[in-house]
């Protein structure tokens, strides 16, 4: 098993043809290692490995969004910050309330008040 590249591993696990974002993730894992992917995406390296080999049991669509944002340049139109990488948008949604600057509060409200990109309760993108 160890002589397989990440891409080969991925296509084998995904029944021949892996989705484009899995290929992108496998490619990065091959070049820079699982740990680098994990840091970039905010997941553990185990999760990245499981995703590539189609064994992850959690919310795969969220990982997909993060990969598309961080590695494939997908952006959303944030009502507060304007053009924003999808992965950063998802990171914002998990940030707790803190009184460090007023825009952080605006973001907190926007993510919970009908923003079409939000996966939170109150957001428009609940899956």
């Amino acid at each position: 098993m160890t002589d397989l590249t990440m891409l080969e591993k991925a296509s084998a696990a995904w029944g021949g043809v892996a989705p484009d974002w899995i290929e992108e993730l496998a490619d990065m894992a091959e070049r820079r290692g699982l740990n680098a992917c994990a840091t970039q995406l905010g997941y553990s390296s185990a999760t990245i490995s499981q995703t590539i080999s189609n064994k992850y049991r959690g919310d795969l669509s969220k990982i997909e969004d993060k990969v598309r944002g961080a590695l494939m340049g997908k952006t959303v139109m944030c009502p507060i910050l304007g053009e924003l990488g999808r992965h950063k948008c998802l990171n914002w949604q998990t940030k707790p309330r803190a009184i460090t600057n007023a825009t952080r509060t605006k973001m907190y409200h926007a993510c919970r008040n009908g923003c079409p990109h939000s996966r939170l309760k109150g957001g428009g993108n609940v899956s």
């Binding site: 139109m77 944030c78 009502p79 507060i80 910050l81 304007g82 053009e83 924003l84 950063k88 940030k95 803190a98 009184i99 460090t100 600057n101 007023a102 825009t103 926007a110 008040n113 009908g114 923003c115 079409p116 109150g122």
Partner: protein, 252 residues
């Protein structure tokens, strides 16, 4: 269903010239050589769009951003700084918190720290603390404040010596007003001479320009119009931040 208004405004940020000025300052600080000081100052009158310019850079450069509150003490400042860096402080004294902040910032020393309302830092005598943090973490630190900020920094010799560059924010010109109009009322057709009038009445203060644009939008909606040119509104109609005056008071 509830009756709360949950609409999300088409918002975002307009790339005004002040945004470019601020971004250039951030780049200069990030790319500076190791022997150069790491403080940058962006100053200008209220409403010029300094804070919005910093939001843009905050987003693009993944920076940390603080707005100094009037109630903040040195300890509060350090706690907020750590909160912004997603770190729960382990210890409680100011010296320990400072050390934690320096270590946290130093982990990624290209990630800028933007401090808005920096006048309050000066008023509260916290500039030295910021200098200490900057010095040991070597992160680019951007101080944003009102027009008096440079004068306040000049009083603290050790801090003002470490400023790499001072960049004044400028009032909006016609093309800035156009960018704001495109962002906030894209459905209206506004002529250049009307926008010139707006810039004149508002003295180029971005915040007031936006208020005027929003009023035009409202007026257009109420009167079913979507195009305005110079002279469409009389002088007194424009919002200049002056409270309205009463006319002659009637004597009973």
């Amino acid at each position: 269903m509830n009756d709360r208004n949950t609409s999300v405004n088409p918002g975002g940020l307009a790339a005004l010239k002040n945004v470019a000025r601020f971004l250039a300052l951030v780049e200069r600080l990030v790319d500076r050589g190791p022997h150069l000081p790491g403080l940058g100052v962006f100053h200008g009158f209220s409403g010029y769009g300094k804070s919005y310019a910093s939001l843009y850079a905050w987003n693009k450069r993944d920076a940390l951003r603080l707005e100094i509150g009037d109630s903040w003490t040195r300890k509060k400042f350090l706690e907020k700084l750590l909160a912004e860096a997603d770190i729960k402080p382990a210890k409680r004294t100011i010296a320990d918190l400072t050390e934690e902040a320096i270590m946290a910032l130093g982990d990624d020393h290209n990630r800028p720290l933007i401090i808005d309302e920096a006048d309050k830092l000066a008023d509260k005598g916290m500039l030295e603390l910021v200098r200490e943090i900057q010095e040991h973490s070597q992160v680019p630190v951007l101080l944003i404040g009102e027009e008096q900020l440079p004068a306040k920094i000049m009083k603290v010799e050790r801090v003002h010596n470490r400023v790499l560059d001072w960049v004044p924010a400028e009032p909006c010109d016609l093309s800035d007003a156009r960018a704001l109009a495109d962002l906030f009322c894209p459905e209206l057709t506004l002529t250049d001479d009307l926008l010139t009038e707006v810039v004149g009445h508002t003295k180029g203060v971005a915040r007031r320009i936006v208020v005027n644009l929003t009023r035009m939008q409202e007026y257009g909606r109420n009167h079913r119009k979507d195009a305005f040119d110079a002279g469409a509104f009389e002088r007194g109609w424009f919002f200049t931040s002056e409270p309205p005056r009463r006319g002659e008071r009637r004597v009973a």
